[in-house]
């Protein structure tokens, strides 16, 4: 059934906000929803190493993530919409990371905090995954070793702008939302792994 101005009800039921027609009537609804999503991003606790300490520092009084509605670090990924991968991801932790990411509900975003999460950092060796984007799709990369709370906040603001503009939703549809990268294990380890979209 079609509601004039809004769109097809079946499409809305299946795809939510993305199933609506894009016109001047629905534009404001979209903006409102995007604004609300960006202003209450609940992070999932995924602090791994040193960056976790700086992430905790951003959450506490001096830098205060609560100003942005983000002080509630949800332990359960089902209740979170942002995963801040804070720290180096080792070979043993990689499947756990993917599992936590998969358990999060759409829409979800990932900030790769620190150089170790973004690219392996100074640890270019057998033990560290060279960039967490080999495992999960990353939306914002925050460089630093560790990035100070101000850098993390800048990354969060960047994410806010991207969410509000709807840019991320559109891009996700284009490439299927997954990393689409084949990981080849080195040194004759257990066989290659493909993470698809």
């Amino acid at each position: 059934m079609r509601i004039p101005g809004l769109g097809d009800t079946q499409s809305i039921a299946n795809n939510g906000l993305e199933g609506m027609d894009h016109n001047f009537l629905t534009g404001n609804i979209e903006n409102l929803v995007s604004w609300a999503r960006s202003r209450s991003l609940w992070p999932a606790t995924f602090g791994l190493a040193c960056c976790a300490i700086e992430m905790m520092a951003s959450g506490t009084a001096h830098y205060d993530l609560a100003r942005y509605g983000m002080e509630t670090f949800r332990a359960s990924p089902r209740q979170a919409d942002l995963m801040i991968v804070a720290g180096r991801v080792s070979q043993k932790m990689a499947p756990v990371l993917r599992q936590v990411y998969d358990q999060m509900m759409e829409p979800k975003w990932v900030i790769s905090m620190g150089v170790c999460a973004s690219s392996g950092g100074m640890f270019n060796n057998y033990a560290i995954v060279q960039g967490v984007d080999q495992i999960v799709p990353v939306d914002v990369y925050a460089p630093g070793c560790p990035p100070g709370p101000e850098t993390l906040l800048h990354a969060i603001f960047t994410l806010h702008t991207k969410i509000e503009s709807g840019e991320l939703v559109r891009r996700r549809e284009a490439n299927g939302g997954g990393a689409g990268i084949t990981i080849e294990q080195r040194d004759g380890q257990t066989a290659g792994l493909t993470i698809g979209g």
Binding site: Q91, K92, G120, N124, N125, Y126, A127, Q130, R186, D187, G188, Q189, T190
Partner: protein, 180 residues
């Protein structure tokens, strides 16, 4: 520090080192390394040396690790006529009452990298020995849980061995490789 006192101290250190060398302590040859007392053992004498040290008041195991001397550039001369092997298990003990530390270096051959476990003397050796197994492939006989501790359980290879590559991916502008 004046030259005379420096020379006198040096002479004293040399005398102590000479005294220490050539004698046996708990059945192992002794040497001195930058002010530390080092005992040299073999796989056969290892457990006896450690037991005697334990009986003599070395109540805590501080550290247990291994070194792979495969690509060692220098000369390796060990006291007591010991033959240097590829692996060396280094055990550090402490005696709190006498405020004394000793280090026991045991030669472990690459063909049969097995050495007795110290779990019965010091249960705190559990994780340290598991790490040595994980990183070097040295098995500790009579260890309650000889499994990997740092790498995933099904990992193949022992990362800290010298013939295990560091696993770096080639990065442009790094000294590693000039291939583009």
């Amino acid at each position: 520090m004046s030259d005379e006192t420096a020379a006198a101290e040096e002479a004293e250190d040399e005398a102590v080192a000479e005294e220490a060398a050539g004698e046996l302590r708990y059945g192992a040859a002794v040497s001195e390394s930058h002010g530390d007392v080092v005992l040299h053992a073999t796989v056969e004498t290892y457990l006896d040396v450690c037991s005697e040290a334990h009986a003599d008041g070395f109540d805590q195991l501080i550290d247990l690790t291994a070194v792979d001397y495969l690509t060692y550039a220098g000369e390796r001369t060990l006291p007591g006529g010991l033959t240097p092997e590829r692996f060396e298990v280094v055990t550090s003990l402490i005696n709190h009452v006498r405020r004394e530390r000793i280090r026991i270096r045991t030669q472990v051959s690459a063909d049969e990298p097995t050495i007795p476990s110290l779990f019965d003397l010091w249960p705190g050796s559990e994780y340290l020995e598991r790490e040595a197994f994980d990183m070097f492939g040295i098995t500790f006989a009579d260890h309650p849980d000889m499994s990997r501790v740092l790498m995933p359980e099904d990992w193949v290879g022992h990362p800290l061995r010298k013939d295990y590559a560091v696993g770096a991916i080639p990065v442009q502008f790094k000294a590693a490789s000039n291939e583009r």
